[in-house]
Structures are given as structure tokens and as C-alpha cells.
Subunit: 267 residues, 4 copies
């Protein structure tokens, strides 16, 4: 399995690259408030799956709200998602600051995750991606809408966040809580928000659901772009989307098991 | 061979994921009415091939009419096609109900298969897919027509099924026999029917033929979309398509053997 | 190397599939007029490379004029190119008939090769492909012209063959010498001819050159289609193309060695 | 890891292909002016990464200015980048002539590198590619501009070099210092210059930076082409691009480590 061997070799290379990092830095301590091992495992799989499915490259990140403490969330240290192991997962508070970074670098854009967990108690996982298929929608102001039942979580369409309105001339990054709050307001109660000249964010009530939404946001973008060149598109109505989304909930494990198998065994 | 190792690893992972499922659930009993082992093998290969060739992802399914009892058909339990083994194949009656599900979950859309087997005695295998390349045609009302001899089975063009006409506002799924009958009527005596906002169905007189049609429906969609941007398309005439389809019948094993080799050894 | 393991596994599967075929059918006898082993090896590599580079799928074929007898050419029996071994190579005369088929099925369209070898003494190798990227040009009457120096062999543009003019309503196949002669006339002294609703043929003065032309015909098609959507295209002039083609001749081994390495060891 | 095994097998094949080449030709001698082993290693990785990421095929090349002598640069002998080992790296002077070619063939277009190192003391590495995604921009006169922060190094847009203005009717190659100087003038102080009917050149202040720019030039081209079909594009302003580029500098190692891991261990 390519994914498996890739991950193994990658681990060797990373080990060699950062000699100053302990071979097995400690995962969050196993106290009563430490997240369950299953949640950490899901989060590591999510990192590998998002790379394997083409939704992230060297950049992008995925987080999960702690199942033991809703005021904390888990996110890897600053690194390529495909190379993440459980030892790279750190805990953050809802201001986006690491509880204990163990001296490791953290993502500049961790505030994206923090702001969404603050604003949306229902959200348990967040994906941030620069997927090439999605960028064209944000930079042309084209609304991404569901072309089929599998992307019905797009509902009546994904809103687009314009960082110029919130921050003027920036380096395009969500590098503080003020910008992140503005992004969370644009997200509102949607599942997905596009970011002009940057990428998108998908939120879900579990790690598999957020990953599912990120993957099919990218697929929907490719289909919608192609369809728009053939003629006017007959999208799912908001009512069809709502009904389809409810059914789809029950079918997600089917995709998650496939993606895990394809990405290969972790660690 | 990536496919081979992927399947092997996937089997391990699935085994670990469903501890409540017996390691080797029983295949349909070897009575005089049980389908031939060769048919089950072809159906398992079909599942893997359709994933390997990009026609299905975590969703989609393929069935075969029993070679021992035309009032029965074979279809896997509800799972990703790439992970199917012979132990996952169940037998269904022509109402779409499992003869004995052995307690396992079945596809919501098994009625698609049942209705087509009821309406079309000549059909021995059915593929249902959400292929991204095909969706744009259904949602823009663009007729898919044969661009070359290899997709000549498209004849004068594939009809498009609009579920709103048959069921009003739905969750887009063919989840009962009433919707499935409407779909079968739109299919008529064609090889392929597109489903607006959902995907398509390909039917054939054997598992390899249905798989062949599903794969080249997807290829034709990509070619036709690309060609339509260069100028008006000179399609095969219905007469050319009919002649080409007759010749093509004799050449299908060449592709089937390749796809089997590429997908990798099963089980 | 995926290609290597794929070929090995494929050989096993094919061996199991055709029990009536001797495990190692005889290659053309090693008489003074038998082609050199190096030519046969190049031809087997060409089969694997064309599949590995996406120019052929289960269909398509490549031939080489015998280096010992210019009135003979070499072509595999009727099978998927990716699975060809030296034992599958047969010798044909310039009427397109096998010298001795050893009871094996031959391609319906072997006449394509025969007619071009008859009409073009300079041609030593011929590729026939249904590449999806190229079909849109033939079916919209769009001339394929060189977008960069690497495809400069397209010169002032590739002619398009319309089988209706030569054969009326057909099954689209070049299944006799009459149709093949008409195709060869349209090819004229070009390197490549497109076939409406079918595919294309590339000819060269060696196996590597014909393969190179087939691969970059496909790449040129993708680039030209994409460019034509951005605005009017500034193609290489015929003079630039002629100069670039002369230089390119000396650089082809670089690509051939790469493609061999990527396709993997044969047999 | 596919990349790893591919490289290993490729090395075997190449070894067998050039029996006249010593099995381990000497790398530049380890004198005080010889480049550091780390620079040679980075350059070999760059060759493999650019192939693995789809930016070069059998053609294209990447060089690095010597870290011991700014009047020298390192470039492989004339061969496909994917097959390069440290033994294939040669040293050149700023006129583009090899210091000692050890009898091996050198690239016709080595002058591209020489001219840019002459004109731009800040440049430490140069990539030349024929990426299919980028060609459409040069041949339609469409300016490539940054669609997102990751390609912010494109600034206000990449200039396009028209070889007809500098050399009249040519074979499209930069085969002498006169043409190369004209190219360097068009590049000016940009990071990237497109070459009409040929490809592009990316320059950077390190091997990882030049590789990063080459890879994301290709990604930007795909995104921009797609976006331009959806509507008018809202590019990064030059000010946003400048700010984003400054931030991005600090994030590049993340991508470089991933690409190395994916390309596989060299030698």
C-alpha cells in the first residue's frame, strides 16, 4: 500500500530532519481531561486522508474539539499533514494558544479553529484547505452550490469571506482572533466558507464529517465548474439538499473506512 | 501491484473495524440454485475495477442477476466497492429485498437494480455510479452521445431521469420500487440512463459488459465536455453507433483482462 | 516500481486465463530474416510505455517494421498493450496478414499499419491510439498544431481522416486495405493523422520516435485545448517547427530512457 | 514508497544502459572550492521532486549556484531529471561551459542558467520546465498573476519572453549566451518568466525556494485557467502579494520536507 510505505519512510525522514526533537515527544498526558486515544487516532487519520485525497498539500490543517473538555481543541504542530503522527498533536485553548507546545512551532492560522469552536458549540472538527479546485470560486465570487446529493451539506450555497473587508491589505492569513472572528461570522451556521485568494474551511460535528465535507467540497467544485461550461446548472434546491443531507449522515462511515484503508496504516 | 496490496491491507483494516462481523461470513449456500462461483468472482472483480478505474468512490454499487435463478440478483452488503470480498455478496429477490441478509446492512438504493431486472429480462448486470465526469450532463440537461466507437453503446444518446417528476421533493435517492420503476421506464431499452443531481446507471448482458459501459460512459463524458468547448461536435450517427457496437462486443475481453490485472488479485 | 510489479502480476493472471496457450509460445524463429531481439524488446517496451503514459488503454496498438525484411512488420496478437510480452509478437506481411499466427487472434485494424508501411518507406514504426485528449480535435474539425518545440513534429498541423468519405456508414474501424489506403493518403507525409470519432495514428522512423510522437500528440492536445479557452493561440510557425524538430531528434533518448524506467522491467 | 523503488530500479536500468560510463563517475573533487555535499544532495532531491510533482518530464533541468564559488553553478549532465544521482552533477562557469564534463553530454540550454546567475547575484537556484499547465499562458499572451497567497511570489505578474524578438526564426531553444541574456533581461527582477512556445524559468535564493516557485507556478496556472472560465478574477493586489510572500518565506520547509518524503530516498 503506497500510503503505508510512504508514511513509514516519511517518519524516518522526519526523525532524521529534526534531531533536536525527542524521538517520541509526549502526547497530551493521560489525565482525566486528556482526549480519548480514539479521537487522536481519528485526527491523525484525517491528516493523512486529506493529503491522500488531494484536499491538502504541504499546507492546510485539521483540528478536533477535545472530547473531554469542550474549551480545548487538538491540532498538530506546524508541519505537512501527510507526515503527522500522534506525537505531533498538541492541545490548544479557545484563544488559539497552545496549552503546552513542548517547544515546537505552531500554525500561524490556529485562530481559524479557535474562533469557530468559540462561535459554534455544535462544531467538533474543522478542516482548512487551499484546494486548487475550490480557489476559482472564491476569486470570481461564484457561489458553490450542491450539484448532487453527496455534497448536499452545501445547502443553499457556501458564503465567501473577503479578508479586505475585515483587515484591509493583509498577507491573506488569518493570524489573529479579530480576523478569525470575522471569518466565523461569515461562516455563520453553514458547513463551509470559502476564503477569497486563500482556500476554504469546512466544519462538522465529528472528525469524519468535517473530512467528508472537505473532500466533497472539492469534488463539488470540480463538477460545478465543468457543468457551468455546458449550460445553466440545475442545482439541488435547498429543500432537496436538506433531505439529502439527513440521509447522507447515515452513510458516511462507508467513505471513512475506504479513505482510511487507502491512506494506509498510520504510525 | 498497488491494487493487490491495497486490497490486502484493506481486508485487515475492515476485519479490525467490524469485530462483531464473523471473520468469514457465509457466502450464499452451495445449493443447486446458488450462483456459480465464477459469477461471484466476476462481481467482486467488478467492484474493485470500478473503484480502480475511478467510476465509483466510497459510494456506488454493481449487481449481477443470478445465473441459476433469473428472479434473484447478487449485490454486496452496504459498503465501499473497493473493499468488497465474496463473503460480502448477498442475494436479493426482484422486489429488492435480501433473501437472507445475515444481519448485515443493505444499500438503500437496491431498488434500482431490482426494477431494472424486472423490466429488462435481457439485463444480467447493473452498475450505479456518481462519477464526477457524468454529473454535469444530468444537471445541465445535456445529452450524452457517442464521441467514438468505444462508447457506441450510447446509441442515439442517454436519457436523463428527473426525480422531481416521479417523486417531487425527495432526498434524491431511489429508495423504493415506485421511484425505481420510474427510473426503469426512463432507461427504456437504452444501455445507460443519467440521473439529475445524482449519477447514472449502466446495464449490460454480463458483468464485464455493464462494467465496460460504466467505464466508457465516464470517458465519453470527459471527451464530450472537452470537445463541446472546441466547437460543434460531429457525433457518431445512430447507424454508425449500431455498427460499431456490434463489432465492439467481440473486443471487450481485452479490456476486462487488463482491468482485472490492474485492480489486482482479489481476496 | 508499480509498473514492474503490475507486469509481473499481469503475466501470472494472463497465464491463468489462457490455459490453452503454451506457457511460452515461440517468438519468430531466429533465422537470418528474423527481427533483431533488440527490436522486439523495444516493441514490448513501447506497448508498456504507451499504457503507462496514458496514450492507450485496453485498446490501441504499436508496430515496428522488421529490421531484417522491410516487407514485414511486427505487431502483438490481439490483446491489451500493457500485458504484451515478446511471446505475443507476431510477424505480418505488407497486406496485413500474419505470416504465422500460431492460432492466435490478430487485431481487426492491422491494416492501418500495413497501409502506412506500404505508402511510406521511411516509416519504421506506427502507433494507433484512442487517446481521450485527442478525440475532441477530430470530432470538431479542429486542427492540432504545435504549441511548443516538444511537439514540433506536428509541423503545419495534423490532417483529419473522415471515414465517411472513404467508406460511407461503417463501424468506424479500418478493417480492410481499402480503408487503410485512404487513411494513408490522408496521412500523406505528415507524422500524425487524426481519425474522426476514433483516435489517431503516429508514424516514426524508429520505435522510440513513434512512441515519442504519440505521447506528445496527446500532451499537445491537452495544452492546445486549454490555451484555446484563454485566447487566440500563437502556434509555432512551420519554420520554427521544422527547426525545432531537427534539434529534438537528438534529445529523444532522454525521454525514452525515462519512460522505460517508469514503465518497469518487462518480462 | 513508489518514488523510492522507482529511483532504485531506474538506477539499475541506467547503469545497464551506459556501459561506457564508469559505474560511479567522480563528483566534483572535494577541494576547498567544491560545493558542500548538502547542496549537491538538495539539487539531486530537486531533480526528483520536480518530476514527482509533475513540473518536469523527460526534459527540464534545475541548477544551483555553488556555495563555495559564486562564479560557478551545478547542473546535471544531459539526462531526465528523475534519473539524476549525485554522480551526474557537473560544475559550470558563468559562461555556461562545463569546468570538466568528464566526457559526458551537457544540456543545450545550460546558457539559461548561466545568464541568470550573471544578471542576478541574488539568485542561487534556477528551474527550467515545459509544464503543460503553464504553456497556454505564454502562447496566448495571458499574464500569470497570483490567485492565492501560496503563489504570491508572482507579484504583479510574470513577464513573457518572445524568442522571435531576440532571435527571429529559431528552433525555440536558448542555445547561446545572446538569447540567454535576452531572456534574463525579460526576467528582470521577477521570480518567474514565461517563454512563448517553450515553458518557463523560476529563480530563487535557494534550491528549495526555486523548486517551490516552479511547483506553485504550475498550480497557479491551473487555478487561474479554471477561474478565468467562471468570471473576472480578483487577483492578489501587488501589495497583498508582497506581504504574503514575506510570510510564506518562513513556511517553505514544511512543503520541502513533504516533497522529499514523497519523492523517496535518493541513491
Amino acid at each position: 500500500m503506497p500510503g503505508l510505505r510512504f508514511a513509514a519512510a516519511a517518519a524516518l525522514i522526519v526523525a532524521g530532519m529534526f534531531p533536536c526533537v525527542p524521538a517520541r515527544p509526549q502526547a497530551p498526558a493521560a489525565t482525566s481531561r486528556a482526549p480519548a486515544a480514539k479521537l487522536v487516532e481519528d485526527l491523525v487519520y484525517a491528516n493523512h486522508i486529506l493529503y491522500d485525497q488531494g484536499v491538502v498539500d504541504g499546507f492546510g490543517h485539521v483540528s478536533a474539539r477535545s472530547d473531554k473538555d469542550p474549551s480545548r481543541f487538538l491540532l498538530s504542530r506546524s508541519m505537512a499533514p501527510a507526515l503527522v503522527t500522534s506525537a505531533d498533536i498538541l492541545e490548544f485553548d479557545l484563544n488559539g494558544e497552545p496549552v503546552d507546545a513542548h517547544g515546537r512551532a505552531v500554525f500561524l492560522e490556529r485562530y481559524i479553529h479557535a474562533a469557530i469552536y468559540r462561535a459554534r458549540p455544535d462544531v467538533k472538527a474543522v478542516v482548512h484547505s487551499h484546494s486548487p479546485a475550490v480557489i476559482p470560486f472564491g476569486i470570481t465570487g461564484t457561489t458553490l452550490r450542491p450539484v448532487y446529493h453527496v455534497s448536499s451539506f452545501l445547502g443553499a450555497g457556501a458564503p465567501i469571506f473577503e479578508i479586505r473587508e475585515a483587515g484591509g491589505t493583509t498577507d491573506m492569513l488569518i493570524r489573529d482572533n479579530k480576523l478569525a472572528d470575522a471569518l466565523a461570522i461569515t461562516l455563520g451556521d453553514h458547513s463551509v466558507v470559502l476564503m477569497r485568494g486563500h482556500g476554504f474551511v469546512a466544519a462538522g460535528d465529528s472528525v469524519p464529517q468535517a473530512v467528508f465535507r472537505a473532500i466533497y467540497t472539492e469534488v463539488n467544485a470540480r463538477i460545478q465548474a465543468e457543468a457551468s461550461r455546458l449550460g445553466p446548472v440545475n442545482f439541488l434546491t435547498p429543500e432537496e439538499a436538506a433531505k439529502a443531507a439527513a440521509t447522507l449522515e447515515t452513510q458516511m462511515p462507508r467513505a471513512w473506512e475506504l479513505w482510511k484503508a487507502h491512506a494506509g496504516k498510520i504510525e
